[in-house]
């Protein structure tokens, strides 16, 4: 691309180097091409070669000078594509009327030399522009901060075009909105996971004259999702799109490398946290001094009161990668928690100096529930919250309770898969579990034979089991003779074919009774 390649004037006007250039008269047609740049010192100057050129006047003219008219006429007669003058204030009436009459686009810029040189580079020196762009992107990217965002910002400052990381299918993951709604389908068709594997730059022509240049980000591991580094151009300016293609491939490689470095560091930290928590949970009463020290270094306070939180995710979620999202969700609700990746989810706890009051704990639980809801836009979770316990041992206990609660919460769709142990007590929590959708049908079928029988057999059985298998107490509570109770129990044994002396069977029956029939005192 060393020969002159005429470019549309509208594309030049949209280029970042031409931000200062304004159209003063006769907006250019989309087909108006610029094939070269001619410079004259002032408005009295005459350029030899005008045909298809951008005639640039370096010295700012007096706004009302009639020489501008002469220049407009000469430029139009010589076939110039446009006239650029060193003054971006509006043209005088006669000049703009004349420009409209002869159909010459007049542009104004406060620094016409810079604009003219930029145009010349884009028109005549595409290779130079591309290599310069790549060099600058390389040096900026190398000097940028650690994060992927830092690299994007540095590269964006060189390219001065909207830049984004886009997933296969067109979702923007990071950066500007480069994929408009109406272009989604076109983008999804081109930027596929399969295309990304070939590691070549893709061009996506969009509606209007806009263009996307996309380069796949090299994946760190085989199971990494496909990502494209995408820049949006309002017009296809050959010199710029060539430069961008080359620059994006460099930038994508740097972004891929930064992503993998970050992942390595994150995974190392995650492993360290998990093993530290393991030690803490295994021997909370007898912590080795090194463990204490590591906990201190990790910023964990082992003294004070701890409120445990267990967040369970499905197996599809990567807790290491998603940890920042959980932390920020908690943070946005005003919670600063220690979060440790454990299995399919996270264990977390919040430490306070003094034993929190009931109302405080309630408030915390509310915040945790809201954080869970925040997180639910990307990740479905089941969350359990334990009670407050003190000291290193307390961490283990509250996390244990939270774990139980999370397991129960998983089955409780109605409560948003959230459960706080403190509210009901652990026993009630377990009992609550029996009222889940899985247990209830089983309980119903177990007790089904008692239905439609004379005598309140279900009530009698429940009261009998509640009163520790005491016939006389049962009789007293129900207000019937104890022989009646004994007789009913005999009928129950025969109808259900169970042995009420067997602890397991008795427990099963008791749970089943509780599930189906709730005594009035338990309704709260």
């Amino acid at each position: 691309m060393s020969a002159d390649a005429p470019v549309p004037l509208v594309a030049l006007l949209d280029h970042a180097d031409w931000q200062q250039v304004k159209v003063l008269a006769s907006s250019p047609a989309p087909t108006l091409m610029v094939g070269g740049v001619s410079l004259v010192a002032d408005i009295r100057g005459r350029a030899a070669d005008l045909e298809g050129h951008l005639l640039t006047v370096l010295q700012p003219p007096l706004r009302d000078d009639w020489h501008i008219d002469v220049l407009i006429q000469t430029a139009a007669a010589g076939g110039a594509s446009a006239l650029l003058i060193g003054d971006s204030s509006p043209l005088s009436q006669p000049s703009s009327l004349l420009a409209a009459r002869v159909g010459l686009t007049v542009l104004g810029a406060d620094d016409p030399l810079t604009a003219a040189l930029a145009a010349r580079r884009l028109v005549s020196e595409a290779d130079l522009h591309a290599s310069e762009t790549v060099l600058r992107v390389t040096s900026m990217a190398a000097r940028s901060g650690e994060g992927v965002e830092d690299v994007m910002k540095a590269v964006g400052s060189v390219l001065r075009r909207p830049l984004a990381l886009v997933a296969a299918g067109g979702d923007t993951l990071l950066g500007a909105d480069v994929v408009m709604e109406e272009d989604r389908e076109t983008v999804a068709r081109t930027l596929t996971a399969v295309a990304a594997r070939s590691r070549v730059t893709e061009r996506v022509e969009l509606s209007g004259s806009a263009l996307l240049i996309a380069h796949p980000v090299p994946p760190t591991t085989a199971r990494d999702a496909t990502m494209w580094l995408v820049a949006r151009l309002p017009h296809d300016l050959p010199a710029e799109s060539a430069a961008l293609s080359a620059a994006l491939s460099v930038a994508a490689a740097v972004i891929g490398q930064r992503a993998s470095l970050r992942r390595l560091a994150v995974e190392r930290d995650a492993r360290a946290r998990a093993s530290l928590l393991g030690e803490l949970l295994n021997a909370p009463d007898d912590l080795a001094p090194t463990t204490r020290r590591r906990a201190l270094e990790a910023g964990w306070r082992l003294d004070g009161w701890h409120l445990g939180i267990r967040i369970d995710t499905g197996p599809d979620v990567d807790p290491v990668a998603q940890r920042p999202e959980l932390i920020s969700a908690l943070h946005e609700e005003g919670l600063e928690a220690v979060v440790v990746e454990q299995g399919d989810g996270w264990s977390a706890w919040i430490t306070s100096e003094d034993e929190p009051r009931g109302a405080d704990v309630e408030a915390r639980a509310g915040q945790i529930r809201r954080a869970q809801r925040r997180l639910s836009t990307t990740t479905a979770t089941a969350v359990g919250v334990g009670r407050c316990h003190a000291g290193p041992r307390g961490v283990a206990r509250t996390l244990g309770e939270a774990g139980e609660a999370a397991r129960l919460a998983a089955g409780r769709v109605a409560s948003g898969r959230f459960l706080h142990v403190d509210r009901l007590g652990l026993g009630q929590t377990l009992l609550a579990w029996t009222r889940t959708d899985t247990f209830q049908p089983a309980a119903r079928s177990l007790l089904a034979p008692l239905e439609d029988q004379p005598g309140d057999l279900l009530h009698t059985l429940t009261t009998y089991l509640d009163e520790e298998s005491s016939v006389s107490e049962t009789a007293a509570i129900l207000g019937i003779h104890r022989n009646t109770v004994s007789q009913r129990l005999t009928r129950i044994r025969s109808l259900l074919a169970v042995d009420l002396a067997d602890p397991s069977e008795r427990l099963a029956l008791h749970l089943a009774c509780r599930t189906i029939w709730i005594p009035p005192s338990d309704v709260s």
């Binding site: 009302d64 009639w66 407009i72 000469t74 006669p94 009459r101 002869v102």
Partner: protein
């Protein structure tokens, strides 16, 4: 130019004369109409002879005129004695009384002032002047081009006081008079040092008043709503465009002293005309190309009535003819055209004249 033959002027000619003087004013030089009514009452039923210089060979002729703001002149009218006072002052200074009167500038207002002065002083009028058209500065007069002194000269102000200026270069005369005017009433009657009538054929524009009368009479023969070709034919010039005044862009230069403007006329056939002005119309560009300049007479005429329009009277929306008439012959014949060319008005464009184009 026709041979100078003496002609007469009657009250009936004054309307034609005023229009002709406006055309010679090229948009400037002031409106002759208010003062021509003074002339009308002085003429009465009589007539004024416009002598050719050759008829008065041996006579000394004093050039008179009014300097300063023409607009002030119409507000602060003369009492009539100013020209006499100025001429008397030069007479006292030189010790010789003039035998005849001529005009400094036969264009616009000053075309009439010299006639009034001649009647007032009772001296014959010589149809010759030092400009041939509207010119803004005293150092542009033909005598200056011909290396003649403007001094001693005298100014008489409407307040009654008089100023005599001697041994000053033309540039100094111009500068001194401007500053004197700024400090007094805004206008003054000026009489230059008298010169011999015999040399006027070489040193002055002869017959300009006759030309004004001819132009005015020709103009009077034009119908209302005459078309462009007819106007050009009858007035002996060229129409560069006809259309609506789209914009009058006024700006000042020279530290605000000189008022300039750019008049944009949208020709009804498409072209964009731009007329650069100072006190007078100086240059016409058609579609960005210079087409006419001083010293040719650029005039804007009302397209309906053909009435000449002054620079400062032009308004957006006026329908106009852009007319150009030949420059006074003296400037071209004498080889001093550069003194009244665009360059003399700080316009870097060579003179583009009707003469020599065809």
């Amino acid at each position: 130019m026709s041979l100078p033959v003496s002609r007469t002027l009657r009250a009936a000619d004054l309307e034609a004369l005023a229009v002709g003087l406006c055309l010679l004013g090229s948009g400037g030089a002031g409106d002759p109409h208010p003062f021509s009514s003074v002339l009308r009452s002085q003429l009465g039923d009589g007539e004024l002879v416009l002598h050719a210089p050759t008829e008065l060979a041996g006579a000394s002729v004093v050039p008179v005129g009014m300097v300063g703001a023409t607009s002030v002149f119409t507000e602060k009218l003369p009492h009539g004695g100013e020209f006499g006072a100025a001429v008397a002052a030069t007479g006292r200074w030189t010790g010789a009384s003039p035998d005849a009167v001529m005009a400094i500038e036969t264009a616009g207002l000053n075309g009439v002032t010299a006639l009034v002065a001649a009647l007032h002083l009772g001296l014959p009028y010589v149809d010759a002047d030092l400009a041939g058209r509207g010119l803004p500065r005293l150092d542009q007069l033909t005598w200056v081009a011909a290396q003649l002194a403007l001094t001693p000269c005298a100014l008489a102000f409407p307040g009654g006081h008089t100023m005599v200026l001697d041994r000053a270069s033309p540039t100094e005369v111009e500068r001194t008079i401007r500053s004197a005017l700024a400090g007094t009433g805004g206008w003054a009657a000026l009489a230059l040092a008298p010169g011999p009538a015999a040399s006027l054929d070489e040193t002055a524009c002869v017959g300009t008043l006759g030309r004004a009368l001819d132009l005015g009479r020709a103009h009077g023969s034009l119908r209302m709503m005459a078309d462009a070709a007819e106007v050009a034919e009858v007035l002996g010039g060229e129409i560069l465009g006809e259309g609506r005044v789209h914009d009058v862009l006024r700006h000042t230069s020279d530290g605000g002293l000189q008022s300039e403007s750019s008049v944009t006329v949208l020709d009804r056939h498409g072209p964009v005309l731009r007329i650069e002005t100072e006190n007078e119309f100086l240059m016409v560009l058609v579609d960005g190309q210079p087409r006419a300049t001083v010293p040719d007479l650029i005039c804007l005429l009302d397209r309906r009535t053909n009435r000449p329009l002054a620079v400062d009277a032009l308004r957006r929306g006026d329908e106009v003819f852009v007319l150009v008439l030949p420059a006074p012959a003296w400037w071209l014949a004498s080889g001093h055209v550069e003194r009244v060319s665009p360059a003399a008005f700080a316009i870097d464009c060579p003179p583009l004249l009707l003469e020599g184009r065809s």
